[in-house]
Amino acid sequence: MSEAVKPIKKAKYINPYLGGILLGLVLIAANFVSGRGLGASGAAKSVVVATVNSVSPGHAEKALFFREYNESHPDGPMKAWLVFQMLGVIVGAFLSGAIFKRLKFKVEHSPKITSKRRIIFAVMGGILFGFGSQLGRGCTSGSALSGMGVLSLGGFISMAFIFGTAFALAWFFRKNWI
């Protein structure tokens, strides 16, 4: 033990099984109250549609995706369950970060890579996840977790292919993480 080593301040996370039980109860509450599961990517889609509707209304009228979406959402893209839920997620995560003293601006990355490399990969990962979540009708929360909660076959397929692919590709991206 060298004296120069500063004591590492351990991030105090709650027990993962307790976290899982609480998350399960939140998912039950969503189904009991609103008859639906949790989600995330759907709110991001609402933001994209709202942006295109206001920045380029001509394009929103012409392009097939926006035509379909706006016809099936007469109240507008932002008046959606998931939008309100995601606003809550941001507040809830901020509260947890404040209580457990984790509020800090930083780029988190392995010491073996630079911040720049981390950010480039974060953008690429986001693009893939954004695109994939539309094709797959929901992300890890909306399709995999919430789907599994109501025993949906599609939810299990989603879960298997999201986690299976990440495992299969892990070796190629190991430098970024370990």
Binding site: A29, K79, W81, V123, F129, A144, L153, F163
Partner: protein, 196 residues
Amino acid sequence: MGPLIVSDIITQNTNFFLAFLIGIGFGFVLESSGFSSSRKLAGMFYGYDTVVLKVFFTAAIVAMLGLLFMSLFNWIDLDMVYVNPTYLWSTIVGGIIMGAGFIVGGFCPGTSFCAAAIGKIDALFFIGGIFLGIFIFTEAYPLLEGFYKGSFRGTPTLPEALGLKDGVVVLGIIIVALGMFWAGEWAEKKFPRKEY
């Protein structure tokens, strides 16, 4: 009695307000479990931190069991609960693309918002990527529409697809999950990494 919105026990505006409260619970649990850290999330795929597995499957089991019991007690009508439809091939290919996004970017959409909420700058860039990825999908939609809407298989549940009772399948999932928790605990001891 449940779901409350379907039974007209609450109004649409109350439903949105409750969505906000449910979201607070969702975000709080994710962040306090460590899902605001990409290296903790990615640990799942290298065995050094399997918190994702533990939280995700515990939550799924609790929800399955809870909803089954609530349905048994007539507290909730599961026929009125949204069951994700199964579009076989778009779900598979979407899942593969999302899995690649997970290992490349270290987040999924929900966790990236949690991480950004506590100041992770890489998460903000991931969120920017999500918007861009969705926009690419919307622009490519005319090309993708056939694939996206094809191979529709209805809204089957896993027990229906297997021809088994709900309770039997849930019991099987619980047993599999316990096995995975055991493997996860083993992996964390075998591939230790220091806290970051």
